[in-house]
Amino acid sequence: MPDFKLPCDVEAKVNEICDTHGNDPGELINILHEAQHLMGYLPEEMQRIIAGKLNIPVSKVYGVVTFYAFFTMTAKGKYPISVCMGTACYVRGGEKLLDEFRRVLGIDVGETTPDGKFSLDCLRCVGACGLAPVVMIGEKVYGRLQPVDVKRILDELD
């Protein structure tokens, strides 16, 4: 177990979130949503605090965190890149785009570049299938991309 301490204010906020939900284990998923919002991910220490507050085993919290794709235990980059892997984007070349991001950034899906700038993920359908294939970087949607566009976009962000 890595020796990682949460900043005090984050710890206080996690406690507060649990309290507003009445420390009810039935509210675990809602609590995790709010807690993830604090730092962009759910470090182990945070899960431990939540488990303590709700009076349930940490394994239970961990079980839920790892079950759902939306929850993550790794910190995201400054520019979180999500390549849409919905079927519409897939048949219009989403996989080739993903390969190109992997290659250019030198990281795999679920990883963050060592400088903390970019992280790479897949998502399933943004609902902008008319623009397929689609990539989301932060809140911005990039549509109708080709692998040759990847380097340009990353350079622009850099």
């Binding site: 009810d24 284990p25 039935g26 509210e27 675990l28 998923i29 809602n30 995790l32 949503h33 079980g63 839920v64 079950f67 759902y68 794709a69 939306f70 929850f71 892997m85 919905g86 079927t87 519409a88 984007c89 897939y90 048949v91 219009r92 996989e95 080739k96 390969d99 190109e100 290659r103 998502l123 399933r124 359908c125 943004v126 609902g127 902008a128 299938c129 008319g130 623009l131 397929a132 689609v134 949607v141 549509g143 080709q146 692998p147 040759v148």
Partner: protein
């Protein structure tokens, strides 16, 4: 304002009717003349699509810009700018519609705002360059009624999407909104409402196709102090966005339908289980719920009937299996979303062990209109066993990507070639995938079967929630099967062995085949293992997960055989089976390919033909994409 009686509801309705009347009139008007404020038109409305697709192409900026110019010109009091839900024609988004002349502008950018206001709104001259051009005739079409994309559609569940402002309850009320709830509370018994839903023939739109009225009947019969109404808004099928569009475009229809359901089954508590990945739908739904509370259409003693009902939102967190109702219920309880055996059905023991009725978003969206227009009206649409309409998210290699709604019984050919406008780039149609990861692929020979629950099932696919992905000759069917299996393996909750281990083996076999290491024996394995998984898996996810493999094996056996026997992928998608070649007679030695090759696999001197070093080539195709002289080919 608080609506306390049915008379209050009627007066809100007539007060806001005027706003809607302009839109309703122009919708029925035939090819109206272009209007402008300078030409004497008193009031105009500009509808801007605020669906996810159009928002991604900055439709919000367009609205802002238009408002800005309107107020500069001092006509902002005569022209309303309204953000609506999805118009459906996502391929041509962002869409802007001008009322009363019903002009439909496509692919609008913020830079076009000035022309729309100056030319159209003021001078009454259409901005020709923004009109849709019919690819068949080359003529521009200004009214959406005359576009092939809309002609064959019938909007029932989507009746208000792209028509009303989803964040304005009064516009919904003006469209007969909450009339079905009021009517049910005042003049119908719960049994009567259930009977009407049964008579309409409505079947669950989430994929199962179970008769909704029968389901409500079960929940009504269960005896308990507390019962729950759940709306399943966990649209997990990749490439499907029907439910999201309904929630974004007409959230009040869901709120109203849930209250009607609550009244029918004897529940006062509703829960919407929605994907956290849908921020806009969540926002619109939240707004709708709080407006309904404010107007007294949710809460205690609705319309003085003694019936109380309220709705809470629960977030999903991205798990496909949570579309299965027992898994969804566990997830709402804050647990891992693992399914359990049925029976007991949720109608007996669901959320927190209490009777629970789970329906999908589109199912709910149909309820109010069934009650206002009558179950017989609804039952007159569609086929013998599948009544009403179905919304599809039409996407893939098709000209008109978008959200469509057609009567059950429409053929795939009508959907793909008339509404969808045919295959992109004039390529040859190969297959259409329906039902997402649980469905299968249908081919050329299925194009004329009428779409309904039973026909699709009989052909080895399924209706599913309504994703419809069109594929052309450049799509490799083995890769497509692998894509879906990859998805189910990732999404399998791991509780039962057939799904957890069986699907993994299926995926490994498919990977072997696409890597050029498969054998004919593998094809047999796929078929037998697929059938075993179907028969033995615990829940709907596992029982349907082999469908993409089995249906492609069935319809595209030749293609599988080519992969394992000839090590050939005719669609040129399976990298391991490809060889890139440089034609020395066409290569001028510009070195561009070598410069762009990520693996340094291309060698050659400047101005001399280059060659590929196959030990290094990773078959990414970058060289071919970059070559300006068509000197690189793939086989």
């Amino acid at each position: 304002m608080k609506i306390l009686t049915i008379e209050d509801l009627k007066s809100v309705r007539s007060a806001s009717a005027r706003r809607l009347a302009l839109r309703e009139q122009s919708d029925t008007m035939a090819g109206g003349q272009c209007c402008g404020t300078a030409t004497g038109t008193a009031r105009m409305q500009i509808l801007i699509c605020g669906g996810t697709g159009c928002k991604a192409s900055s439709s919000q900026l367009i609205g802002g810009k238009i408002k800005e110019i309107l107020s500069e010109k001092g006509i902002d009091d005569r022209v309303d700018v309204i953000t609506t839900g999805c118009f459906g024609f996502c391929e041509k988004g962002p869409v802007v519609k001008i009322i009363p002349d019903n002009t439909f502008y496509t692919q609008v950018t913020p830079e076009d705002a000035a022309d729309i206001v100056n030319d159209h709104i003021i001078s009454g001259k259409r901005v020709e360059r923004l009109l849709y051009v019919d690819p068949k005739t080359g003529q521009s079409v200004s009214d959406s009624k005359h576009m092939d994309f809309y002609r064959k559609q019938m909007r029932v569940a989507l009746r208000n999407c792209g028509f009303i402002d989803p964040e304005n309850i009064e516009e919904y009320i003006a469209r007969d909104g909450y009339a079905a709830l009021a009517e049910s509370l005042m003049h119908r018994s719960p049994e009567d409402v259930i009977e009407a839903v049964k008579r309409s023939g409505l079947r669950g739109r989430g994929g199962g196709g179970f008769p909704t009225g029968v389901k409500w009947g079960f929940a009504r019969k269960s005896v308990s102090d507390v019962k729950y109404v759940v709306c399943n808004a966990d649209e997990g099928d990749p490439g499907a966005f029907m439910d999201r569009s309904i929630m974004e475009g007409d959230p009040h229809s869901i709120v109203e339908a849930m209250a009607i359901c609550g009244y029918s089954i004897g529940s006062s508590k509703g829960l919407v289980y929605i994907r956290a990945e849908y921020p806009l739908a969540i926002h619109r739904l939240r707004t709708a719920i709080s407006q309904a509370r404010e107007y007294g259409l949710l809460g205690e003693n609705i319309l003085g009937s003694g019936f109380s009902f309220d709705i809470e939102i629960r977030y999903g967190a991205g798990a496909f299996v949570c579309g299965e109702e027992t898994a969804l219920i566990h997830s709402m309880e804050g647990k891992r979303g693992e399914p359990t055996m049925k029976p007991p059905f949720p109608a007996e023991s669901g959320y927190l062990g209490k009777p629970t009725n789970v329906n999908n978003v589109e199912t709910f969206a149909n309820i109010p209109v069934i009650l206002t227009k009558g179950p017989e009206w609804f039952a007159s649409i569609g086929t013998e066993k599948s009544k009403g309409t179905k919304v599809f998210a039409l996407a893939g290699k098709i000209n008109n990507v978008g959200l469509i709604e057609v009567p059950m019984g429409t053929t795939l050919r009508e959907v793909i070639y008339e509404i969808g406008g045919g295959i992109k780039g004039g390529r040859k149609f190969k297959a259409v995938q329906t039902g997402g990861p649980s469905g299968g692929c249908l081919t050329e020979k299925h194009l004329d079967i009428p779409i309904d629950f039973d026909n699709l099932l009989a052909e080895g696919s399924m209706m599913g929630s309504g994703g419809m992905i069109v594929m052309d000759e450049d799509d490799c069917m083995v890769s497509v099967a692998r894509f879906y299996l990859d998805f189910t393996v990732e999404e399998s909750c791991g509780k039962c062995t057939p799904c957890r281990i069986g699907n993994k083996r299926l995926l490994e076999t498919l990977n072997r085949i696409t890597d050029g290491k498969g054998s004919e024996e593998d094809l047999k394995t796929l078929s037998t293992l697929g059938k075993v998984i179907k028969d033995t898996a615990l829940c709907g996810l596992g029982q349907t997960s082999p469908n993409p493999v089995l249906s492609t094996l069935n319809h595209f056996y030749d293609e599988y055989l080519e992969h394992v026997r000839d090590r050939r992928c005719r669609a040129k998608q399976c990298k391991a089976l490809l060889t890139y070649m440089i034609d020395p007679s066409l290569c001028i030695g510009c070195h561009l390919c070598a410069k762009n090759c990520p693996a340094d696999a291309i060698i050659g001197d400047v101005r001399k033909p280059h060659v590929i070093n196959y030990d290094k080539c990773i078959r990414c195709g970058m060289c071919m994409a970059r070559c300006r002289f068509k000197a690189i080919s793939v086989s």
